[in-house]
Symmetry: C2
Subunit: 275 residues, 2 copies
């Protein structure tokens, strides 16, 4: 039986940052089973007290102090939780504000609502445009405006192009198109005609045939498309074509969407703005 | 002239968490202009030294210590950066490990590569399924399998349904469909027939007509669709219909995608798993 512990993420905004950092810490304690609760939008004295009451009820019920990750810009609110909650409180925000103020020689605004809020209109529209772009240029659906793509992912069906394009757009505001490499392209031994003018924007994704088989099998069980033989042949020919055309290539087999997207930005030198 | 400062995000993985937390701190210092560099995948002694060299070259060139956010699980590597870099170093990871070890009465694994890496196969497939689902159930494109939707967003064209559905899938692994409310529905004074069986999953998005006009205008300049009159009428009728049908409603006007998605999960009580 693993040790159990309840964890809270308390934030004055969405709680996404607190969850991400908190999870990267918790995953280091794999003997534990953590039950997670996110309490977002804690931006008033009433909501602070409500959060404290919930945490303290859990502490009493479980006879164990919960772990509480707090990400609140307002100093008094965050202090109130540290003092009022019967918990191990880790303050992700306040702990860095003082050293930053010292380093920059300036006072911080201590204002909530600046992170994961709406950006200025220009940034907002460019992110929306990136999302629309990825959506309308998925799987070779549109060839119009391909010149506007900052990156065009190519690879066999189900190697990870779609989620990566969407993630590049949503998380990094990058205009990403994607284009399948199909058996037709392999018999011609060349790239799809619509993408050849944009060779410098191409980025190849590849995958182990065994893994590809699993993914395709979940989608179309028992099909020729999902057979190991078809997967092996397509992957081999796609890799051959990409090498021939000197397209940079990334193996997605054991990588998360975040890792694939970040690696592409890193290798291509595309500017990333994290939202 | 705002003060300038160069900021590094140094991570053994994607750097996404470091950027998010770092940005939420930096935005508190709005008198500064920050130039940001992300150095991801710093997972070897060589890459640590390379990062230090780059940081120190910047410090010398700018005659100012850069601010360095470090998120590295390996203690020795992170200490090497703290000591070797001519910079203000803020360690997002190590600073919380010791108090967590104390609180849990256990040693951490101090292992890199656990955050934003590939999850277990089950989680991976359910996230992929959510992404495929959002993609194929965008804008009422598919009515098949709507019963599998955890949430179905409804609202007028361009009120934020598509990016929110994609974000719910990508970031939270939630199966979200979305369905437009159109002038046809308003003249019938009822919901589109395909969504009525799933009333309990419906969630309405709305928006100020002036803001909607801006967004539509950017898409189809000068059209009747983008006119303030059309926007006003559609929003009024959509809101009326949603009230009539008692569908929960959220105004997206001044909200980011993250805030809209988080609020929907918060209000509906859907379980969120942050990736």
């Amino acid at each position: 039986m693993p040790d159990r512990r309840t964890v809270y993420f308390v934030s004055d905004r969405t709680g996404i940052t607190a969850e991400m950092l908190g999870n990267s810490l918790l995953v280091q304690f794999d003997a534990f089973h953590f039950t997670r609760h996110t309490v977002p939008f804690v931006d008033s004295a009433e909501k602070v007290e409500e959060a404290i009451r919930e945490i303290n009820a859990t502490a009493e019920r479980e006879r164990k102090q919960p772990v509480v990750f707090v990400s609140i810009a307002d100093e008094a609110a965050s202090e109130r939780i540290r003092k009022g909650a019967n918990a191990v409180t880790l303050d992700l925000f306040q702990i860095f504000i003082a050293p930053l103020e010292h380093a920059l020689g300036a006072r911080s605004a201590h204002a909530a609502g600046r992170s994961h809020g709406i950006a200025d209109a220009g940034e907002y529209f460019s992110r929306m445009e990136a999302i629309n772009f990825a959506q309308s240029h998925d799987d070779g659906a549109a060839t119009r405006d391909l010149a506007k793509a900052q990156v065009i992912l190519v690879g066999v069906s189900r190697c990870g192009k779609t989620p990566t394009s969407l993630y590049l757009a949503l998380q990094f505001g990058v205009r990403a198109a994607n284009f399948p490499l199909t058996p037709d392209d392999f018999s011609d031994r060349r790239l799809p005609a619509s993408v050849t003018p944009f060779r410098q924007a191409l980025f190849g994704l590849t995958i182990h045939p065994e893994r590809l088989r699993e993914i395709r099998e979940a989608r179309r069980p028992g099909s020729r498309y999902a057979s190991l033989e078809a997967c092996r042949q397509e992957v081999r020919e796609a890799e051959h074509l990409m090498e021939l055309e000197r397209i940079p290539m990334l193996d997605t087999t054991s990588k998360s969407i975040e890792e694939i997207a970040t690696t592409i930005l890193h290798r291509t030198g595309l500017r990333r703005s994290v939202f």
